[in-house]
């Protein structure tokens, strides 16, 4: 499926990945692969209680364990002024190690430093913590009452963190009241976790110059450098963050975690390198979870199904600290995309967030900030509306699509959609999957009492944060950057502020440069993740790499081309105005025989540059003028087993429109992966807490990751509507399948059960939920279960 690629014509080619030879030989360098002489291992002591006063911590037995060098607690850190970490959007702060009390189960209480992994684990086991349990608030609706104040450390004496809203509440309410049809659905997007296979971790040491060398699994190394400087007071020039190969991130490796601060403190205090690698349990119980939005979605429509208004009111569970990784001004991220692909005259969305005794987080798990929740809300509720109206869910969507000619489209909640052709994408999906034949099959099966469902999701995402006038993290605007150097032989290096976690940047970035400069992508090296060499960037998450850094790379390459044009003019012995860029080379206008290649120009840039400044390099900081709006139509076909509730996803087709495609092989791979994560969320995954605040899904035996056996076979197709404002028209794709697919899966299951009167099922759609819905429906309770 992959192809080799020659100089030029690099975009749109399924070039084999340049990173693969390293990975398939086990020569990747992940953070746990780094070891340094004298290195100590750190283990964290964590609380079994979700809410408790710490009466005492006794480290004496731990210090007697052979090999244990030190134990630090929250008190030690507080005394050093390092007790708290700022959170990314600045609304809250987070304890590094528990101070006075613990607020969630598995919270970090003490850090043990020892000469080996074994000794660190033995030492952690010997730290005696005396707890006095406090009442537990395990759900956000209980939190609302403020009966138990969870965070007396804050000025605001309430569990309410923030209220955020967008749109016109009054007009939305009035329109809904007047609408011929109106549906309301409570939808919970359950708490889930990105669970990359490589857990989080770091190695910290101070080199002979007293400079912090910090190897860490970070999707945003520059932000880490700044954050570490702000937290520790170490000048930013004395911090070197290296984010090596990353074994999957999906948003989990965006926040700065307490363990990192502890490792740095240990390295400083003990004068040894310190390594901390999470266990899987630690990863699932304490690092950034995602979602946990309880959404009341209301749609108004005319009698024939034209949407009149959309209203969403959300109660968000943020856990013990507000560590949601959202841009400063957008505590609920891009939730305003909840009007989806539809032309909605008026809308209102609001989010109220609360503290609970659960792990902190609220990161963007393989999605632009809160886009998955918003997309699921509208796409699920569209099916509820179709059911209410008694019309086909596809027809309802088609009727309400933003039309091709309406772009750029100003949505009721403030976004300007850049481009799209939703009708075309939908039609391609219907044709490819054979919708009419499936409907016929479904009819026949229903007549026999069999349960078959077809589910659609025609979603629109908003990615590529973001324009500096709106978006910042810790005050730093969300631009991204690239630096390109072309060497005398026409080879080169690109450095970007992003960080690949498997997305294949080493390949796609080289393809962009090759396309723009007519060079061989095999000789364009890509380097990311080293804050000493890469220009400042905000990192890779929220599908921002291609929309922002990809644009920066194209723009930097164009700067190089402009400089190269001057040298080409010198080589071609004409004026600069007479040189044009045709078919990946410079040519004297109108004289196709007189050309020079970029490779020749590169050599001249160092050997024969005439009056031009030597060298051939450029840096570009790209501040995007707008977000990009990838979209797609997804179709799931399922069969449901009445007796066991088992759902078999028989077919799944994803038709994506991500604008210009740089590497179709990688785009397809991203779609496959995202669909599998969406499948897992729809059917298997949830971080559950019981009423006592105990986390019930603490490792891979209960937090379920699908294997090749469960994962369906994926079918993909594309339409291409380039983004008009992106230099190469690309929109980004990594997250679309995770954003768009959950609704398609659930809609398919509900469609299968719709003859029984079932209108909604909460994710994860487990066998038992399906079985129960069937049983209750058959017992005549089906109608009652509606609403």
């Amino acid at each position: 499926m992959s192809a080799d690629v020659k100089a030029g014509h690099a975009i749109g080619v399924a070039m084999k990945r340049k990173e693969d030879p390293r990975f398939v030989q086990g020569k990747g360098h992940y953070v746990d692969d780094f070891s340094f002489p004298g290195m100590l291992f750190m283990a964290l002591v964590r609380s079994p209680y979700p809410h408790a006063t710490i009466k005492s911590i006794d480290i004496s037995a731990a210090m007697k364990v052979p090999g244990v060098k030190a134990v630090i607690t929250g008190k030690d850190l507080e005394a050093a002024g390092l007790g708290w970490l700022p959170t990314f959007h600045g609304l809250d702060k987070q304890m590094v190690l528990a101070i006075g009390k613990v607020l969630f189960q598995y919270q970090e209480v003490a850090a043990v430093f020892a000469e080996s992994r074994e000794a660190a684990a033995d030492g952690a086991e010997q730290v005696q913590v005396d707890y006095d349990p406090l009442p537990v608030v395990a759900d956000p609706f209980a939190s609302k009452t403020d009966t138990v104040l969870l965070r007396p450390d804050r000025e605001q004496k309430t569990n309410h963190i923030y209220h955020w809203e967008v749109g016109d509440r009054d007009r939305t309410d009035q329109t809904l009241a007047k609408s011929a049809k109106r549906v309301k659905q409570r939808i919970w997007f359950q708490r889930c976790h990105p669970a990359p296979l490589e857990p989080c971790g770091c190695v910290a040491f101070f080199d002979t110059m007293g400079r912090l060398q910090f190897y860490v699994t970070s999707q945003a190394p520059h932000v880490y450098r700044t954050a570490l400087s702000l937290v520790t007071g170490i000048p930013e020039d004395r911090i070197h963050v290296i984010s090596p190969d990353i074994g999957g991130g999906f948003g989990n490796k965006v926040p700065v975690y307490p363990g990192y601060v502890c490792a740095v403190v240990g390295a400083l205090k003990l004068g040894h390198p310190v390594k901390w690698i999470e266990t899987r349990t630690e990863n699932l119980t304490s690092t950034g979870f995602a979602r946990d939005y309880h959404m009341d979605v209301e749609l108004g429509a005319t009698a024939d199904g034209k949407l009149t208004a959309v209203k969403v009111a959300t109660t968000a569970d943020h856990g013990a600290f507000d560590c949601a990784a959202d841009p400063t001004k957008y505590p609920a991220g891009m939730f305003g995309i909840c009007t989806g692909s539809y032309d909605v005259p008026v809308a209102h969305a609001e989010v109220d967030a609360y503290f609970t005794n659960k792990a902190p987080g609220g990161i963007a798990y393989r999605c632009s900030f809160r886009v998955t929740e918003a997309s699921y809300a509208i796409e699920r509720t569209m099916d509820v509306l179709a059911d209410e109206l008694g019309i086909d869910a596809v027809e309802l969507r088609r009727k309400n699509f933003v039309k091709k000619e309406q772009f750029p489209y100003a949505s009721a909640l403030g976004f300007t959609y850049d481009s799209g052709d939703y009708e075309k994408t939908l039609q391609k999906a219907l044709d490819t999957i054979g919708y009419q034949a499936l409907l016929k099959e479904q009819q026949e099966k229903r007549a026999r009492g069999e349960l078959m469902g077809i589910g659609f999701s025609t979603f629109t995402e908003v990615v590529g944060a973001g324009p500096s006038k709106h978006f910042d993290i810790l005050g730093i605007k969300m631009f991204d950057s690239a630096e390109i150097r072309i060497h005398p032989t026409g080879a080169g290096i690109v450095r970007a502020g992003t960080k690949s976690q498997g997305q294949g940047h080493e390949t796609t970035w080289a393809q962009i440069v090759a396309e723009e400069l007519g060079l061989d992508p095999q000789q364009i090296m890509v380097e990311e993740g080293d804050t000493d060499t890469a220009p400042y960037g905000l990192g890779t998450y929220a599908s921002r790499s291609t929309p922002v850094a990809g644009a920066a790379i194209a723009m930097a390459a164009r700067r190089i081309r402009e400089k190269a044009r001057k040298i080409a003019a010198h080589l071609l012995e004409v004026g600069e105005a007479d040189v044009e860029w045709v078919d990946y080379r410079f040519q004297v206008k109108g004289v196709p025989a007189k050309t020079v290649t970029m490779k020749e120009v590169a050599f001249a840039a160092y050997t024969n540059m005439a009056q031009n400044e030597p060298g051939l390099e450029a840096t570009f900081y790209y501040d995007p003028p707008n977000m990009t709006f990838p979209n797609g139509t997804y179709v799931a076909v399922v069969d449901v087993d009445r007796e066991t509730g088992e759902v078999k996803v028989r077919r799944f087709l994803a038709v994506d429109d991500c604008g210009t495609i740089i590497n179709p092989m990688i785009v397809e791979g991203q779609v496959h992966g995202g669909l599998t994560e969406g499948f897992a969320i729809a059917f298997m995954q949830e971080i559950q807490y019981d009423a006592d605040g105990n986390n019930l899904n603490t490792n891979f035996t209960d937090y379920l990751v699908p294997t090749a056996q469960e994962a369906p076979h994926w079918e993909t197709a594309q339409t291409v509507t380039p983004s008009p404002h992106h230099p190469i028209g690309a929109k980004g794709v990594g997250e679309s399948p995770n954003v768009g697919s959950p609704a398609a899966f659930v809609n398919a299951v509900v469609d299968a059960l719709s003859p029984l009167g079932v209108r909604h099922l909460e994710m994860p759609v487990t066998r038992e939920k399906v079985w129960r819905a069937i049983r209750e429906a058959e017992a005549g309770k089906g109608k009652a279960a509606r609403t």
Binding site: G28, Y30, S35, E198, F250, T279, G673
Partner: protein, 161 residues
């Protein structure tokens, strides 16, 4: 305890605690960091190596002392004479990897799978790889990679592999 384990043809004699997991023996005592650790529950398969040429094992669920006197094949031992092993080549050709973290385990499970099932169907591949998790690829392309590798390995020229 002193153990001697032959890894990729090279004997490694080391003094280890009995509780040292084979995965950490490979990573930290032999410096072979291609074997990864991704969970605590024998679920993910990132640590799979091949024992005595036949058996795919999760090296996080085996003690190094158990492997004393045995042969272990890890990802570092797959390529020979500067050429990628057909399984490695296939994973790259078919885009059967993204982040690369599960890849070594996935490939070593494939080594044992193809030893016992040289011409697997898609269903057999999916069944055979179900002890290894991948979060990135969605498995479509891993299945294709195993099919390609099986085809290549069944050619007479590759039979010595």
């Amino acid at each position: 305890m002193k153990v001697t384990i032959t890894v990729n043809g090279t004997p490694y004699t080391r003094d280890v605690e009995p509780r040292t997991l084979l995965a950490y023996f490979l990573r930290e005592h032999c410096g072979l960091t291609g074997t990864h650790v991704g969970c605590d529950t024998s679920s993910c398969g990132c640590c799979v190596a091949v024992l005595d040429g036949q058996t795919a094992v999760k090296t996080c669920t085996m003690f190094a002392v158990q492997a004393d006197g045995h042969e272990i094949l890890t990802v570092e031992g797959l390529a020979a004479g500067g050429a990628l092993h057909p399984i490695q080549q296939a994973f790259s050709d078919q885009h059967g990897l993204h982040c690369g973290y599960c890849t070594p385990g996935m490939m070593l499970t494939t080594v044992a799978l193809l030893k016992h099932t040289p011409a697997p169907t898609e269903a057999q591949i999916r069944e055979g790889l179900a002890g290894n998790l991948c979060r990135c690829t969605g498995y479509n392309n891993i299945v294709k990679a195993v099919q390609q590798a099986a085809d290549v390995l069944r050619q007479p020229a590759a039979a010595t592999k």
